[in-house]
């Protein structure tokens, strides 16, 4: 096959040969007839030159025409291919995104529900607060689920239905009676007794994608008809008829833009808005618009109108809550009105629709007048379109915006607790499962505890900073609160600002624990057969490490106290005495016990470990103290109870997991000692110190860290206070962390520790460890294995036992 140019050259040669032949023919003819020769010689000449010119132009023209045709053909072919490829790309992109987002249901995380039964210790005000947290509203008629009515000593409520782990509980009306801060009766609508019922649990978060979008997915059946019709009326009147874009809309927008000289208006349909929302861009260019239109057309071709409208309702951006973007009406309803979408009134639906046009501009919290004006225009449109009746319109127009700026808007949001939920689940579920499978996660969190603890942390730090003239915001804190018997985490505070998703100090701040570690030494000593009355030396000591380094510990006040009983050494947190005790039982043995109780070996292998030169996080310390608070059982603090799939089937249940770690009588004895720490030692400044609580304070070197770990009958709490830059705070465990713990218990008080009456309790003098009686000053009651071996404090009226008298005879 010839190259086109070669072909063209060959064709040219053929043409030339024909011309020459024709010229020769004409020459021969003119030579033969003489008359013709004279007549037309001049004309022939002209004709010859004209013929020559025409052929050349004609040929050139034809050639150009052919070339142009070829060029067009190739260009068209190329453009078609590119267009098809781009169309395919757009189709793939938008369809994949739509399908992915449509079924991408973030896992929902629930707190523990409040149990309601006769005998439950909760007063009416607290229950109202709890209902308010769940978005219940006061309504004398209890017309709809999510309402309550307080009347005298009773509170009636219309509970929302909920799918619990064990099954569904439909919505129902309940009457609760109170007496002396306790529920004394729970009745159904027909006055029959209800022995046990629970509130619906608070939604405390969901696992939304890393770019911060959160949503609560609604199915088409869950979308209120007024919302669907209202959206169409306001945002896209021709939604049911168009094929993804509206020419009239675009022309109108173009006209407005041309007149204003800016790109002020977009003629987007709901489908186009949906496309725009998927790709997170507000860029206003014609290129983007074209792409948007193309994608909208593709979506319309591929999916039904109902699918598209539902996707829009679940997708549209409705505001920002810190780092969390509020997407969709499901979550928007919780965020702005603190209730589920099916409970929204007409004016509330109109408010939500009004926000779409500009979530920032029409933010009802920041710009209520603007939002109200737009809401009322929307209500007028509802009326004009026959979506609502005149009385409903009047009623709605007269209603306030009704948005609630409660801390629980958008579902209670506890990022610090969510961190541990995420960590626990990461062992069993992938991140994509959590973000897309619609899992339902039931957790151990008690919102009341969480809110109370967070409030105590924030207010106490502010108070301390003010009192000590420290820079505002310089102090930080963290806390973990667990159930003493099950080890379940009831609250977790990651920093002084609860709703900020930042560095989680409760899980990740590993700091020297100071004296809170000392109970491990005492436990080892008790297990080795020593007693609370055993004398230890609070005298100067210098120890040499293997590398020859000298270590000379000191007491916090720099003083020494000589011989004193073990209980006093622990209660007063005397460093020298505790080092002496540690040396008596050996560092290796103390560290072995530490490993048993925490599940990991300490990092510090030197005697400074005795004084808490060991970094731990508040969560790790909680695990250690859980052994004491539970009565001798090791539990790993846990946050997840169960995970259900979207159909309500259990995927995993996380049962109680405990292992006996300390003998019951030994741990009972240790806990008595920790109670004395509170009543007579470093915890005595606490207003609860003599109310049956056990605990230990801790302070690290240079007052960098302030710790408190303590428990009552039902709750174990660990509190840390320090600075993020690890500089000195000037606080001890008592003046920092313990104050926070005190404030955590101001409103609810403490639940005193219940003792086993079989404890071998003996009264001893706190200062000397001698056997004494209550009539003597400074006496503590504590289990002693061999009370008959104790020396007796004279003048206390303690009579020697027969054995003691025999022994004294023998000794003499």
């Amino acid at each position: 096959m010839l190259h086109p140019s070669a072909q063209s050259r060959q064709d040219g040669h053929k043409v030339n040969r024909k011309i020459i032949s024709k010229l020769q023919d004409s020459y021969l003819v003119t030579k033969t007839p003489a008359s013709r020769k004279a007549k037309g010689s001049g004309r022939r000449k002209n004709s010859k030159s004209s013929k020559k010119t025409d052929s050349w132009f004609k040929r050139l023209g034809k050639w150009i025409l052919r070339a142009l045709l070829k060029l067009m053909l190739w260009t068209t072919l190329f453009a078609t291919l590119v267009g098809l490829g781009f169309g395919y790309y757009l189709d793939r992109t938008i369809t994949k995104t739509f399908e992915g987002r449509r079924w991408s249901v973030p896992a929902q995380v629930f707190a523990q529900p409040l149990e309601i039964y006769a005998g439950q210790r909760i007063n009416k005000a607290q229950l109202v607060e709890e209902l308010g947290r769940l978005g219940y509203r006061s309504d004398a008629n209890l017309t709809a689920p999510g309402s309550y009515n307080s009347n005298g000593a009773t509170l009636s409520t219309h509970l929302r239905g909920f799918d619990f782990m064990e099954g569904s509980r439909p919505s129902q009306r309940v009457k609760i009676s109170f007496q002396n801060g306790v529920i004394n009766r729970v009745q159904a609508k027909d006055n029959s007794e209800i022995p046990l019922i629970r509130l619906d649990p608070a939604t405390i978060g969901s696992f939304f994608p890393s770019h911060g979008e959160d949503r609560l997915i609604l199915t088409p059946e869950q979308v209120p008809p007024l919302l669907a019709e209202g959206l169409k009326a306001i945002e896209d009147r021709n939604f049911d008829d168009h094929r993804g874009f509206s020419i009239t809309g675009i022309l109108r927008a173009a006209w407005v833009n041309a007149r204003s000289g800016t790109r002020a208006q977009g003629g987007s349909t709901l489908t186009q808005q949906l496309v725009k929302s998927y790709f997170l861009t507000n860029e206003r260019t014609y290129e983007r618009k074209l792409r948007e239109v193309a994608m909208a057309i593709i979506l319309e071709l591929r999916f039904s109108k109902e699918d598209l409208l539902t996707a829009y309702i679940n997708e549209i951006f409705l505001g920002q809550n810190g780092a969390r973007a509020i997407h969709g009406f499901g979550l928007g309803s919780q965020f702005y009105f603190n209730k589920p979408i099916n409970e929204l009134a007409v004016h509330e639906i109109a408010t939500m629709i009004s926000i779409i046009r500009g979530p920032s501009y029409y933010n009802p919290f920041r710009h209520p007048e603007r939002a109200l004006a737009r809401r009322n225009r929307i209500l007028d449109t509802f009326l004009a379109d026959g979506l609502i009746s005149n009385p409903r319109h009047q009623d709605a127009i007269g209603s306030p915006l009704g948005v609630v700026s409660s801390p629980n808007s958008g579902g209670a949001y506890y990022p610090a607790f969510m961190d541990i939920v995420r960590a626990e689940l990461s062992e069993r579920y992938s991140a994509s499962d959590l973000r897309s499978q619609g899992l339902r996660i039931f957790t151990t969190l008690k919102p009341r505890e969480q809110e109370n603890a967070q409030k105590a942390v924030t207010s106490t730090l502010q108070m301390i900073e003010k009192e000590r003239k420290l820079a505002q915001g310089s102090l930080q804190a963290a806390s973990v609160i667990t159930d003493t018997q099950t080890g379940e985490i009831l609250a977790l505070i990651g920093g002084r600002k609860g709703r900020v998703d930042g560095f989680n100090r409760a899980l990740n701040a590993s700091r020297s624990v100071g004296s809170v570690i000392k109970p491990v030494i005492v436990l080892t000593a008790l297990e080795a057969g020593l007693d609370w009355s055993t004398l230890v030396n609070d005298t100067p000591i210098t120890m040499t490490s293997d590398s020859g380094e000298l270590w000379t510990p000191r007491n916090y006040d720099g003083k020494t106290r000589g011989e004193l009983p073990m209980i006093r050494a622990l209660a007063m947190s005397l460093n020298l005495a505790m080092v002496d005790l540690g040396n008596t039982v050996s560092l290796g043995e103390v560290q072995r016990r530490f490993t048993d109780l925490t599940g990991y070996a300490p990092k510090n292998r030197y005697p400074s470990f005795f004084l808490g030169a060991e970094s731990m996080s508040p969560l790790q310390l909680t695990e250690l103290y859980g052994n004491f608070a539970s009565g001798g059982f090791h539990t790993t603090p846990k946050a997840v109870i169960a995970v259900l799939n979207e159909r309500g089937q259990a995927l995993s249940h996380h049962p109680f997991d405990l292992t006996q770690s300390i003998r019951p009588e030994t741990v009972a004895s240790l806990n008595r000692g920790l109670e004395i720490v509170m009543s007579h030692g470093t915890g005595r400044s606490s207003p609860f110190s003599k109310q049956g609580v056990a605990g230990k304070t801790g302070t690290s070197n240079d007052n960098r860290d302030s710790w408190y770990a303590g428990f009552d009958n039902s709750k174990l709490s660990v509190v840390w206070v320090g600075r993020d830059d690890n500089k000195s705070t000037g606080l001890t465990g008592t003046s920092g962390a313990l104050r926070i713990w005190n404030n955590m218990h101001v409103s609810s008080g403490v639940d005193p520790i219940v003792h086993n009456p079989a404890d071998n309790l003996v009264e001893i003098e706190f200062a000397t460890g001698m056997r004494a009686a209550k009539s003597c000053a400074d006496v503590v009651v504590i289990p002693i294995r061999r009370p008959d071996t104790l020396p007796i404090k004279l003048g206390c009226g303690v009579r020697k036992t027969f054995g003691q008298r025999l022994r004294s005879i023998f000794n003499n």
């Binding site: 022995p195 046990l196 099950t486 049962p655 019951p664 086993n756 005879i809």
Partner: protein, 167 residues
């Protein structure tokens, strides 16, 4: 000197005698007395009357009591997983009730989780405290766990010791 020596020898004998009598705790002594009564009865010509079953006091907390009853139903219906969920809920309400932990141990045992069953039985023993009936039932539950773990002798020994509390 001789007098002192005699006194101290007497003392040693006395203390030694006391040490030899260590053993049954309050609950144990009740258990042994129960056994001796059974032995006495067996000598009588007539068939011994069946000792009345000793039932532990139900949970004081009304909610825990209801959940315990539901869990017992679930256990009889061979639904230990459901029983575990109910019992854990009950324990969240009343965490120091030994009976709930005994049943939780039973539910785990029914599921073949002997390790969990053993630890929950221990928890029940620790919480039962001075309640002899609950202590006895907790030990009997431990006997069941031990048997499932292949420790038949220990299980039998515990059953003999706490037979009186068999429900």
């Amino acid at each position: 000197m001789n007098i002192k020596l005699c006194i101290s020898l007497l003392c040693i004998i006395f203390i030694g005698g006391c040490a030899g009598n260590q053993g049954p705790s309050a609950s144990d002594s009740r258990a042994s007395s129960g056994q001796s009564r059974t032995a006495e009865n067996s000598n009588k010509p007539a068939a011994p009357p069946k000792p009345a079953k000793i039932k532990p006091a139900p949970p004081k907390n009304s909610a825990a009591k209801i959940l315990l009853a539901q869990a017992d139903t679930a256990l009889t219906q061979q639904a230990p997983a459901q029983a575990i969920v109910l019992l854990e809920r009950a324990i969240r309400i009343d965490p120091r009730e030994a009976l709930l932990w005994i049943r939780l141990s039973r539910a785990h045992l029914a599921q073949g989780h002997t390790q969990a069953a053993s630890q929950h039985a221990r928890k029940a023993i620790a919480l039962a405290g001075s309640d002899a009936v609950k202590t006895g039932q907790a030990w009997l539950q431990m006997a069941d766990v031990l048997e499932a773990q292949g420790e038949r002798q220990q299980a039998a020994s515990l059953r003999r010791r706490y037979a009186r509390y068999a429900g």
